[in-house]
């Protein structure tokens, strides 16, 4: 076990840092530290352009295999790039669902033709993806999806149903959709994993107005929408959907930690300025936030080590970061004190920290709520009995 980096890795670090310093300037300068969770609606056009700039520099698909068009970088180097991106204040990625989820899944389950069609646009920073999993009646109970896929006489699959909490749907070119291929099936069986173009008459996107007053999430309605492709076979949808979650091995969480670092730094600055840093309770909570963020990094490194013994580190990761981030939002308000009430602009232009405070209440809900996480941890991590099912 060793945590220092080799000289070759350090050279890679310098290369990444230099590229970021050279490119995150001019039109992109204002993107530094922007566009993360709770701030995702900011600078959309500029961040689209940034995706392409990043891709042109060869920094999209850093961890993808070379035969898929990626850099084939080792985990160490993926970590290094995520860290340098963080240090430079690289903006929240619009392309992360394509790069981190859709791409690796298509690479693993797609045919040669599917790979040739879908992977290069992701690597060029052009194609943006969104994820069609949750439905109004299939939240924590994802296997209850009711969206249907019907195979027409023309050989094409048509999708009908409603997805919800779809982030970036209003910007995305593509959506991967979990839908029922066998109308008689229920639960994990009879599902398919479809790739659907968003720009077609059968797809309607309606933004959801959140407690922040902004709209990061959407409802997506499919009405006989044509699926461009089925990944794998009908009935393999659940297997592929679960495998996809496994591709999220934590490298991008190191990118997410950059956002957290920037937020905590801002809170520390405010606390030093307004005297909150002298309050013993606030001091202790800031120290706790600092330690919670640091241990998040160590835990992510353990996950990335890929040791079979370390699956528990991955199991607890979501519960930790979501709870940590929610607490950080409350800490921000408590550090600000009464000034926390004042908005930036009329009618409801929240400050970055207000936005943080409100948006982090979603962190403990999406991607498996804290309660679902605890069920998973107890059942998969500790082998405790499964929850009784009502069907």
């Amino acid at each position: 076990m060793k945590i220092s980096f080799s000289p070759e890795d350090e050279a890679f670090r310098e290369e990444a840092a230099r590229w970021l310093a050279d490119n995150l300037t001019g039109e992109f300068d204002k993107l530094r530290f922007r566009g993360g969770p709770g701030d995702e609606h900011s600078f959309i056009d500029e961040r689209r352009a940034w995706e392409k700039r990043l891709a042109a520099g060869g920094w999209v698909g850093v961890g993808w295999a070379k035969e898929d068009g990626g850099r084939g970088a080792t985990i160490s180097r993926q970590v290094i790039f995520a860290e340098e991106y963080a240090r430079a204040g690289g903006p929240g990625r619009l392309g992360h669902i394509g790069e981190g989820l859709a791409g690796p899944t298509i690479a693993a389950f797609g045919t040669a033709e599917q790979k040739a069609r879908y992977l290069p646009p992701i690597l060029r920073g052009e194609a943006l993806w969104c994820q069609g999993y949750s439905e109004p009646a299939a939240g924590s109970d994802l296997a209850a999806v009711a969206t249907r896929a019907r195979l027409g006489n023309d050989g094409q699959w048509r999708i009908s149903g409603q997805k919800v909490w779809t982030s970036l749907a209003h910007l995305a070119d593509w959506c991967f959709v979990l839908a029922r291929t066998d109308p008689a099936s229920s639960g994990h069986h009879g599902l398919g994993f479809f790739l659907v173009a968003m720009d077609q008459p059968g797809v309607t996107v309606r933004p959801i107005e959140q407690i922040t007053g902004s709209s990061e999430f959407n409802e997506v309605f499919f009405d006989e929408a044509v699926a461009a492709d089925l990944l794998g076979q009908p009935g393999e949808g659940w297997k592929i959907a679960m495998a996809l979650l496994g591709f999220e091995r934590g490298v991008s969480t190191l990118g997410q930690q950059m956002q957290f670092r920037g937020e905590l730094d801002e809170i520390i600055r405010v606390a030093k300025d307004n005297g909150a840093a002298q309050d013993p309770d606030i001091r202790s909570r800031i120290a706790e936030a600092q330690m919670g963020l640091t241990v998040m990094r160590y835990n992510a490194l353990r996950m990335l080590g890929g040791d079979a013994e370390e699956t528990r580190a991955a199991l607890v990761y979501k519960l930790h970061w979501a709870s940590w981030h929610r607490n950080l939002g409350k800490l921000a308000m408590d550090v600000l004190g009464e000034a926390a009430e004042l908005c930036d602009t009329a009618p409801y232009g929240l400050t970055r920290l207000q936005s943080l405070f409100l948006f982090t209440r979603a962190d403990t809900l999406y991607g498996g709520s804290n309660q679902i996480q605890r069920n998973l941890i107890a059942e998969r991590g500790l082998g405790m009995p499964k929850e009784p099912k009502g069907r």
Partner: protein, 382 residues
């Protein structure tokens, strides 16, 4: 970077785990607790002499294995898991860390070989800071070619079984120095005293004009060397706490899986599962913190290149983090185990209280979570 264990590290861990499963059973721990020294001599013989567990931090030219700090942390974790009654932390965590950070070559050559071969038990008095008002402390002054030491320490881990005692003392000027005292030194009185946690024996140490030669004074006692010794010792006690946290969780999962109420195993109730999930969360974060800190400590003690120096700068923060998370995980998990066992967890017969008490004692040793949190706050805010 390779944040996974090597094959050799796994072998050491598994060998110690196997030994403890056999020789640190509940009955053996209870027998050691009730013994005159509160120490399991047979287990120590097997661990320190036969298995050379104290040699991992000692350089090869001094008879050690020179493997590194991660190995010591893995051994410490196993000892915590079995609430083993042995002076491993005193000898390796406190004394070897101190000798590596503060002693010169001659002093290391005098003491480390005996520790490596398991024949010398050692401990350190006064390495930690007093968090509360305390009469603990020692003073030294020059005396001929050497020194005279006076002082008192209320509780020094395993000092009563130690052949070598290192003592931190202050001069009139406030300067700190460390002295090596062989057991039986004239003017040195050591008395085993009862402690709430009976698995980690402690002794009162009295120093009454103990005369020492100049060579007994450790060579480097600048603040940085002392701090290195202290934080390394802190990481290893955190490793023991991680073992306590893990074992408490395992006990609770095992018991609630068997205990039936209202017609089913209580482990099937969400109230129990969610508490257990929180226990695993705490244990796993503590594990990440402890393993990382152990790597940092390894680089700080043995690393020689630039990359190592860069990593070593993280040591104080990594150690504070490991101690806080492991201390809180151990206490939360042991306390939760006591709750989940229900009434039987409150009995002397069941082992839960051994872990509960070990967690309490160790979580305050070398700095409570509150002290470490304030240390982190100071670095960020002042």
């Amino acid at each position: 970077m390779q944040f996974t264990f090597t094959e050799e590290q796994r072998m050491i861990r598994d060998a110690v785990a196997a030994l403890l499963a056999e020789q640190s059973t509940s009955a053996q721990v209870r027998a050691a607790m009730a013994s005159a020294t509160g120490t399991d001599d047979a287990l120590w013989q097997a661990l320190a002499v036969d298995m050379q567990a104290c040699a991992v931090l000692v350089p090869e030219h001094l008879g050690g294995l020179g493997t590194g700090f991660v190995e010591a942390a893995l051994i410490g974790e196993q000892l915590g898991r079995h609430v083993a009654c042995v002076p491993y932390h005193a000898t390796v965590g406190l004394a070897v860390s101190t000798l590596l950070a503060c002693a010169d070559d001659a002093q290391q050559a005098a003491w480390l070989p005996g520790i490596a071969e398991g024949t010398t038990i050692a401990s350190v008095a006064g390495l930690g800071e007093n968090e509360r008002k305390s009469a603990d402390g020692a003073r030294f002054r020059s005396h001929g070619d050497g020194y005279l030491l006076c002082g008192h320490f209320a509780a020094v881990p395993h000092a009563h079984v130690a052949g070598l005692l290192l003592v931190a003392a202050q001069a009139e000027t406030g300067d700190t120095a460390l002295f090596a005292l062989p057991a039986g030194s004239r003017g040195l009185t050591v008395r085993h005293r009862p402690t709430m946690d009976q698995t980690r024996a402690q002794a009162e140490v009295l120093l009454n004009d103990v005369a020492l030669p100049a060579s007994a004074r450790l060579a480097r006692t600048d603040e940085k060397s002392l701090a290195t010794a202290r934080v390394c010792a802190t990481v290893l006690i955190a490793a023991e706490l991680l073992g306590v946290a893990d074992a408490s969780l395992a006990m609770a999962v095992g018991y609630t899986g068997e205990r039936r109420q209202f017609g089913r195993a209580i482990a099937s109730y969400q109230a129990i599962k969610h508490r257990a999930a929180d226990m695993l969360l705490k244990a796993e974060l503590a594990r990440s913190a402890v393993y990382y800190a152990a790597c940092v400590a390894s680089e700080a003690l043995f690393g020689r290149d630039d990359a190592a120096r860069k990593v070593a700068a993280e040591l104080p923060q990594a150690a504070s983090l490991a101690k806080t998370y492991a201390g809180e995980a151990a206490f939360y998990n042991a306390g939760s185990a006591l709750q989940l066992f229900g009434g039987v967890g409150f009995t002397w017969e069941y082992d839960v209280h051994l872990y509960f008490k070990r967690a309490q004692g160790c979580s305050h040793f070398l700095g409570s979570p509150a002290l470490h949190r304030e240390r982190v706050a100071r670095a960020l805010l002042d």
